[in-house]
């Protein structure tokens, strides 16, 4: 029954990818908020954020490869890389492709961060806020297990976790104690450079 193995792997890896990605997003937000304690230094948040992001990509690769090579689905490689090119659930699968490609851009630019500079990296990193919800929509829309109790629980927990982190982020802003004077200083510098 190799077909069933591939099919179950696709679904399982998809669910794991959702959980990992949500944790990565939450950790990313917490690092901006400079969350720390005696037992949880700041480099732990950043380190976990990075390593779990790489792990997310591994499970995402597993999710995609097993879906494509499964002879039953007969998706083809084009469907995995070109959004909305799949005959099967065109919209929902296309969203998955978009989310995957955004994540790829985010991870690759992070790995070469010192070459492209902080500003460009940060701009691209904002795409996370597009990649995550698009990924969730893909899971909800095409997931075979979407309406099973355990998958609903996982999705709800991920959405709640990331939602709470975003609310904290919007409430507390950045954890930088000098954020306000720094912003006005930079604005002043930019203003003078433009003239």
């Amino acid at each position: 029954m190799p077909n069933t193995v591939l099919w179950y792997t696709t679904r399982g890896a998809g669910a794991v990818t959702l959980i990992l990605l949500s944790v990565v997003v939450i950790l990313g937000i917490l690092s901006t908020l400079r969350v720390q304690s005696d037992r949880w230094p700041r480099f732990l948040t950043t380190g976990l954020h990075r390593n779990l992001a790489l792990m997310t990509l591994v499970f995402l690769a597993l999710h995609i490869v097993t879906a494509v090579v499964d002879p039953y689905t007969n998706l083809g490689w084009a469907a995995a890389f070109i959004p909305f090119s799949s005959y099967y659930r065109t919209l929902w699968l296309g969203l998955g492709v978009i989310s995957f490609e955004l994540l790829l851009a985010i991870v690759v630019t992070s790995l070469v961060r010192s070459f492209i500079g902080h500003r460009a990296w940060r701009l691209i990193h904002w795409l996370t806020y597009a990649a995550w919800p698009v990924g969730v929509a893909h899971g909800m829309g095409t997931g075979t297990d979407t309406w099973s109790a355990w998958m609903l629980g996982i999705t709800a927990a991920c959405v709640a976790g990331v939602g709470m982190a975003i609310v904290l982020r919007l409430t507390y802003g950045s954890g930088d104690p000098l954020a306000v004077p720094r912003t006005s200083f930079r604005a002043e510098v930019d203003r003078r450079e433009v003239r």
């Binding site: 690092s31 400079r34 480099f43 950043t46 010192s114 902080h118 104690p177």
Partner: protein
């Protein structure tokens, strides 16, 4: 002529996130506002890997290792 490696911080880029002092307390401590104070002089050989890690992990890429040539001596 020996090559020495120094730790430098770009004060404009630095946001005082404080990761560097956690990763390399041997050479970096934080002032009252959370900004790094670097130990003077070249990075000791045995601390180079840790210094490299601190540079890579700086969230705003403000920390760097620079080559400085010893002029006299």
């Amino acid at each position: 002529m020996t090559q020495r490696l120094n730790l430098t911080v770009d004060r404009i880029k630095c946001d005082g996130r404080g990761l560097c002092a956690e990763l390399l307390p041997e050479l970096i401590r934080l002032d009252d506002w959370g900004y790094p104070i670097l130990a003077a002089g070249p990075i000791p050989e045995h601390l180079l890997p840790l210094a490299q890690r601190a540079v890579e992990d700086c969230p705003v890429l403000a920390l760097a290792i620079r080559r400085a040539e010893a002029v006299k001596g």
